[in-house]
């Protein structure tokens, strides 16, 4: 039991940190510009593909730097030449724009790299078990991922709280019109935030592509969950995103390990339920089987109970 708990906790933290890498960029974009960027997960996927391609040409380590940079440039271009024009047409247009963009990226990726997963692999220098926990080895690249994620949080946190540009971004978060009226270049800031957000997604993609499978459906897999993290964590809150990511990562991982169902609860409570009872099939679903829906349940509950999220300052 202790073994399973420890390993699950570790898995949950790994998953949570990866989720955080993925969502930290989106939470900036979402909260600052109010753009529901459906293409964020697609940029994550691009990061995975870029790192595969650059990794082939010049090796993994340069790719770890270049792939996020490329994603950042693409993000900046998307904002400067796409979103900025759509922005004036309102939120529906923006959503449709990023939605279309997500499809476009998926099709492009399919055309360039094919439908099958490409063989993304880590260099041998980090492909060894870092340590073993109760006999379950922990690959070094996951350790690298955790280190990157934590560094990213520290860097972003300091940049937002301790630098001038961070202060302006924070101001634009809550009072965009006011920040603009004071003479700050809010559109320029938008490009910057979008570029940084996309670069962070790309960085997450480099690691995510190795941990999971680099294939055109990667964006579909992670697309919905990043919004859950942003909403649960709270708009504009980096710490909120971190807490929400860790929470969702750990809860989902532990849910898989729980082999109990509502039936067991009824048994403990002394309520008699038999196969003939209505909804028996539903009661018999194990928590483990329902694990993937846990984050969405959390999303719905959060929107009902506390629409601004854990540490948010504005309602979603």
């Amino acid at each position: 039991m202790l073994e399973l708990t420890a390993v699950s906790l570790l898995n949950g933290v790994v998953y949570g940190l990866l989720l955080f890498m993925l969502t930290s960029g989106l939470t900036l974009i979402f909260s600052m510009m109010g753009v529901l960027n459906f293409a964020h997960a697609s940029v994550f996927m691009l990061g995975a593909y870029f790192s595969f391609q650059f990794g082939r040409w010049i090796g993994f380590w340069p790719a770890l730097v270049l792939a996020p940079l490329a994603c950042g440039l693409i993000g900046a271009a998307i904002e400067r030449y796409g979103l900025r024009h759509v922005h004036t047409k309102g939120h529906v247009a923006e959503i449709l724009f990023t939605f279309g963009l997500a499809y476009l990226i998926e099709e492009l990726v399919t055309m360039l790299w094919g439908r099958n997963a490409v063989a993304s692999s880590v260099p041998e220098s980090i492909d060894f078990p870092l340590f073993a926990l109760f006999g379950t080895s922990f690959p070094a690249y996951k350790g690298l991922m955790m280190a990157i994620s934590v560094t990213m949080f520290a860097f972003l946190f300091l940049a937002l709280k301790r630098t001038r540009i961070g202060l302006i971004i924070q101001a634009a978060l809550t009072h965009p019109q006011m920040a603009g009226a004071l003479g700050h270049d809010v559109p320029g800031l938008f490009v910057l935030v979008f570029a940084v957000g996309s670069a962070l997604a790309g960085l997450a993609g480099v690691i995510g592509g190795v941990m999971w499978l680099t294939q055109p459906t990667l964006a579909h897999f992670v697309g919905p969950i990043v919004f859950v993290v942003v909403v649960v964590g709270g708009l504009g809150s980096l710490s909120g995103a971190l807490i929400a990511s860790m929470f969702i990562g750990i809860v989902q991982t532990f849910a898989v390990a729980v082999d109990y169902s509502l039936l067991d609860l009824f048994r403990v409570l002394g309520i008699g339920v038999t196969r003939a009872s209505p909804l028996y099939e539903f009661y018999a679903i194990k928590v483990a089987t329902a694990a993937p829906i846990v984050p969405y349940l959390l999303l719905v509950l959060m929107l009902i109970v506390r629409p601004r999220g854990l540490l948010g300052t504005r309602d979603a």
């Binding site: 073994e3 439908r115 997963a117």
Partner: protein
């Protein structure tokens, strides 16, 4: 300018219509995932079917008519499949080919049966090349459905025969996809292990969402904690690759007894860690015969690349029987061809193959094989390949059936 553009579009449209197929073609609808998580499997199958159909057409077609394969993307979704089936019927398809996903096959076989009852004279045959839920040839069987792959029970029988002879196996963990096929695999494993090796403990019975899990680490932690020495799984496509990958990352030391360990990407994902531990049950593997079959060589030449590695030997049997049935029936009419298929026997390089008349289940040799080093033909350029542990003759794979079939007059 606009008017000219519009005229160009009309001309282009007219051109495509005129270039369309001749009306006499035999249309076959291929309904399978061509996008999404299972696309790799669907697209490989599409190429394989096209390859064998082209061979039939090159030899003059069936009864003088050419075969045309129409592809429909069902996104591994039963509802979407029925919409695509309707589309296929509207386009005049009289044969339906599907394989990925038993939940879909069950929907299609029911829809085909209804269609055939309501549209006499326009009957459709369903050629199932990979959906292996036993129900399809038992309680849900009908005359219109023919299965060219061994069902989950038949494969499990072969797998448990090998497990039964291995005294090292003491604790087994079942992990499968949460839908009809995964449940069928788990049920068959429980039943047959209990019969053949009652001393083996089943330490886990897991169902996970179909093609939705990205990170299998939590499941691997559970397998590890259960103390299992062997994992039985019917997972396919991404679910297979990611499970194996998570197991390798965590240093999980178990024997993998799989249905689809040979599916694209799996060997690459497990690499050296799978040597002597990854096993699969299949109707063919690259080293089943001393030399590669000529059609396999030709396929690899036409579709080079790792993602196109030949995998569907059963498609070879299927299309050989299909063209033989047309010849025997002297007609391309689905009813007549269906009757010709019943009880049809075929001699192949691997052994005798027969289409059972009572439930339309093919009987073909099955191999249990292990990923090994130093084999003649490797998989995915990994230097590792499959080596036979055991071969079961077609006849010996037969299991009793509960099918009661009504045949058209």
């Amino acid at each position: 300018m606009v008017r000219r553009a519009r005229r160009m579009i009309w001309l282009a449209l007219a051109g495509t219509l005129a270039a369309g197929p001749a009306a006499a073609d035999v249309k076959i609808a291929f309904i399978d995932p061509l996008s999404g998580g299972a696309a790799s499997t669907g697209i490989l199958a599409q190429k394989t079917h096209q390859f064998y159909i082209d061979a039939i057409n090159a030899a003059g077609g069936i009864n003088g008519e050419k075969i045309q394969l129409l592809s429909f993307d069902n996104k591994v979704n039963p509802q979407e499949s029925l919409i695509q089936l309707k589309k296929a019927l509207d386009e005049g398809a009289r044969f339906v080919v599907q394989g990925n996903g038993s939940s879909i096959a069950l929907a299609i076989t029911e829809a085909v049966q209804k269609h055939n009852e309501r549209n006499p004279g326009k009957e459709v045959l369903f050629l199932n090349y990979a959906a292996v839920d036993p129900a399809l040839t038992n309680e849900k069987c009908n005359f219109w459905h023919f299965r060219f792959d061994a069902d989950a029970d038949m494969k499990m029988a072969a797998m448990t025969d090998v497990i039964g002879k291995d005294p090292r196996i003491k604790a087994v963990y079942l992990i499968n996809q949460d839908y009809s096929f995964g449940k069928a695999v788990a049920a068959a494993a429980r039943k047959m292990l209990n019969e053949k090796r009652p001393d083996i403990k089943i330490v886990g019975d897991e169902l996970h969402p179909l093609q939705k899990v990205q990170d299998f680490s939590p499941y691997v932690a559970k397998i590890k904690a259960s103390g299992a020495d062997t994992v039985i799984t019917g997972n396919w496509s991404n679910d297979m690759v990611l499970l194996i990958k998570a197991g390798k990352d965590a240093g999980l030391k178990v024997g993998w007894q799989t249905y689809y360990g040979g599916s694209p990407g799996t060997v690459t994902a497990i690499g050296e860690a799978g040597v002597d531990t990854l096993k699969q049950v299949s109707e063919w593997h690259k080293n089943a015969l001393p030399e590669l079959d000529a059609t396999v060589v030709a396929f690899d030449k036409r579709y080079p690349g790792k993602e196109n590695e030949y995998a569907y030997w059963r498609a070879r049997n299927m299309w050989e029987m299909f063209s033989l049935a047309a010849k025997k029936a002297q007609s391309n009419d689905p009813i007549k061809m269906g009757k010709a298929l019943e009880g049809m026997k075929l001699q192949t390089a691997l052994g005798d193959v027969e289409m059972r008349a009572d439930n339309h289940q093919i009987l073909q040799p099955l191999y249990v094989s292990t990923l090994s080093k130093g084999v003649k033909y490797d998989s995915e350029g990994s230097g590792l390949g499959w080596k036979s542990d055991a071969k079961v003759d077609g006849k010996a794979t037969a299991l009793p059936t509960t099918c009661k079939m009504e045949r058209p007059a």
